[in-house]
């Protein structure tokens, strides 16, 4: 579903070249739930933006749902759902349901399918109480649920989430995690999630990839990840060791 082959993205910054992502290769198969970890500035968002076609890779190859994202961006958009935790994709001044209606048109979802999907999402994400509220008046937790629904209205094969639980309280986090697990298991949607909240990783991801300085530093199951550190280490300890490089043996 997602394939990166020696992909890289560099930026020219004041005459020097910064490699945000370098020589990155991995494959994610359909139906997987992958956590994508890395310290700030490691290249997580850059990777995600290459997957959506927002950024054109400067080296290597990227394929998502069989398409080259930067060349077939608008076609790919129908197969991929994207959520940015730090900014909304909804229309700020309009009621939530109007954003959904507009998305229905943009993605050319027929009315009956849209209705049944929206009803289902309204139920599972508990949106009924604020469907008619303008987005700017929603709480962060409500807005994030709205954003998730917006990303899934066209039933994408791949869901890419960039820090979807950032800034949320424990209850909102729990409901979003619960929802993501269901999307993955019931619809078989492939999910790639970046986060700094290791609780997301522990509770959701069967597979973890860890990127550092634009390289893949770890790729394996959650159990493999835990096994890189001495027994009884918490996931925080394990990840800290990997981030700071003290785990290399």
């Amino acid at each position: 579903m997602i394939e990166l082959d020696r992909a890289g993205r560099s930026f020219k910054v004041k005459r020097s070249v910064v490699h945000a992502v370098r020589d990155l290769s991995f494959t994610v198969s359909a139906g997987e739930f992958v956590g994508y970890l890395g310290p700030n500035g490691a290249g997580k968002s850059t990777t995600i933006k290459m997957l959506c076609g927002i950024l054109t890779p400067t080296a290597g190859k990227v394929r998502v749902a069989g398409l080259d994202p930067s060349r077939r961006r608008t076609t790919l958009a129908r197969h991929i759902g994207v959520v940015f935790g730090q900014r909304t994709t909804l229309w700020w001044d309009l009621p939530l349901v109007d954003s959904f209606e507009l998305i229905r048109h943009l993605y050319k979802v027929d009315r009956a399918t849209f209705r049944s999907r929206l009803d289902e999402l309204t139920g599972t994400l508990d949106l009924a109480g604020f469907l008619r509220t303008p987005v700017r008046q929603l709480s962060l937790g409500q807005r994030m649920r709205g954003d998730l629904a917006a990303a899934l209205l066209h039933a994408p094969d791949v869901l890419v989430l960039d820090e979807p639980t950032i800034g949320l309280d424990v209850v909102s986090k729990a409901s979003i995690r619960d929802f993501l697990r269901r999307v993955n298991s019931e619809r078989g949607t492939t999910v790639l999630l970046t986060t700094h909240d290791l609780g997301d990783i522990e509770r959701l991801c069967r597979r973890v990839m860890l990127i550092d300085h634009g390289h893949l530093a770890f790729d394996g199951t959650l159990d493999d990840l835990m096994a890189t550190a001495p027994d009884q280490s918490s996931i925080e300890d394990v990840v800290t060791r990997l981030y700071t490089g003290t785990a290399t043996t």
């Binding site: 933006k49 054109t56 608008t74 129908r78 940015f84 994709t89 507009l102």
Partner: protein, 262 residues
């Protein structure tokens, strides 16, 4: 494509209506500034009967034709020049994840329905000039061609202005010199300007084809600068070339987008 565009316009209009006081104020201001533009021309002719050899009605024809093309673009396309704000705020990312061309989405971005009044004003001026001059119907066919050519040229300029901002995110105002500046230039007969400037807008940046060259044909006049007759008909070709260049620049701009850290 067109349907999506109008749907976006409607969406932004409703979003703007969420702030009704500002909406009303902007509409009124739009009309006032447009009226002032015409007033300037009338003031000039209150003091003189001809401007660089052109009568009041002839100047109004040139003004109205360019004005109509320009206000249409200013209303429906000009939002492209706000792209640097999206680049800086990182909101361009959310535009690029949609299955609709970024150009369509950004042209419609924060569409301001209050500008529609200025299209009406330009159309009225053009209509008045046409009837007052009693244009020969054998030459009148050029008027819609001229307005369409102008729309394509101004749209291309705005597209380029948007594309350039992928490189110059810090200086979005620089590009306004080319969009709004071009319009200022076209408000009067080009014969009031220096020969070298007119050469520039004839052979380099094809602004002379917005209203000047086709306008000379409509008015049945020779070019005071002595360009040959066939150049009156080059407008559509020049517009097409400029549009192709703009499309190319836009594509390059999008491919060189760097996004923001998050």
């Amino acid at each position: 494509m067109v349907r999506t565009y109008f749907l976006l316009l409607w969406t932004w209009t409703r979003a703007a209506a969420a702030y009704p006081a500002s909406f009303v104020l902007m509409t009124v201001l739009g009309f006032v500034t447009a009226a002032l533009d015409v007033a300037v021309i009338l003031v000039i002719f209150a003091n003189t009967t001809a401007l660089a050899g052109f009568s009041r009605e002839e100047v109004l024809l040139l003004y109205g034709a360019a004005g109509l093309s320009f206000t249409v673009c200013d209303t429906f396309v000009s939002n492209l020049d706000r792209i640097s704000q999206h680049i800086k705020a990182g909101t361009l990312d959310t535009v690029l994840i949609r299955p609709v061309s970024a150009w369509i989405q950004l042209a419609a971005d924060r569409f301001n329905a209050t500008r529609v009044g200025r299209i009406l004003q330009a159309a009225l001026v053009l209509g008045y000039a046409i009837s007052a001059l009693g244009i020969d119907w054998r030459r009148a066919w050029m008027i819609p061609v001229m307005v369409l050519t102008g729309i394509v040229i101004f749209s291309a300029l705005w597209t380029m202005a948007g594309a350039v901002q992928f490189l110059l995110t810090d200086a979005p105002e620089v590009v306004s010199a080319f969009t709004y500046g071009s319009h200022q230039l076209n408000q009067y007969p080009l014969s009031i300007y220096a020969r070298d400037l007119v050469r520039g807008v004839t052979y380099v940046l094809p602004l002379a084809y917005v209203n000047w060259q086709p306008g000379l044909y409509v008015l049945g006049r020779d070019d005071p600068f002595g360009t040959p007759e066939f150049m009156r008909f080059l407008g559509p070709a020049a517009a097409l070339v400029l549009a192709l260049l703009a499309a190319l620049a836009w594509r390059q701009g999008i491919r060189h987008y760097r996004s923001t850290g998050s």
